[in-house]
Amino acid sequence: MIKTLYFSINSLNDASDAADDALLINADRFIAMGPAGTTQTTAMYFLDRANTGAAETIITLTHDAGRSIEVMEDVCEAMSGEPKDGFIVIADPSSGDFCSPYITDAALTQL
């Protein structure tokens, strides 16, 4: 099964009116995840969405203070799921749909 992870970016944005307002990425490209330097952020690291082989795609999840470990557990549980269409929403702040009750927003960094 091909699983894909969906993120809309920045709760203040419309999810579909500008470049990088949302990202769908193959779950196979997920490398790692960890706390991101504040009590309220956790970063997900992916192989570059553009397949350059020399960059990374990072999604930074914003969440309740001190909830990084719970967010990582919830994200892993969601990624372990096997929905029929393979479509897994990790964070969609534009519609308030999240895989974890602690996540509130998402940001995209393309390096």
Binding site: A32, M33, P35
Partner: protein
Amino acid sequence: MRDKYLYFGLNAAGTEAFDDHTAQTVQLTTGFVNPIPVGTDYLANGGAKVTVTYNANHTYGTAYAGMTGEIDITAGCTIHATSALITIATAAADPVYGWTKSSTGSENDLDVTQLKPYDTGDGYVYNSKYLTGVSVAGATTTALHFQGKTGDVGATHDLDTITVTHGSAKNKEFIQELTDVIADDNKVSGMVVVRDDMRDLNLSAQNASVIASVAQTATAS
């Protein structure tokens, strides 16, 4: 075989001691963790605990009745949104969870201990799909090599290496415990803690390979 998500808690818990303390507040500094924790819910969400060494000249809320030794008074504490100043409610203000210091400073010994990770590098989940190899690093250490988080592959391949410390000559036992988890599609789902130094958790309750700690190095090409 499905991907498994392997968690390695790399940093030990941050702690800060406030011995002979004369105030009803404690100010966390970067000596606790750098950066200091932020968010008013940090304590309520279990990010850290505040403990006090019992003294008969303290006044305790009813929740602590009969307790001695190190008493967890986190329930009576609040933390400032940005400054990491922790205020402890007095027993008069909060008769259940409050605590009032002794007027003699030398009788007030408090500690704040981190319970959950938040700093960059405190811990990482790795996708088992990107476990490229496992090697014996020494009698008590085994190295797990993963594709680097930087995403650099091919000619500029980056590598993240997790080094697990375990019992002497237990390398094979550890590797087998790990592959048992990675290969098990029936019982294993979600995040699996391989080793968490902060919470002192191991891959299995039996811990046959006597896992003791874990560390990480990131190698750029």
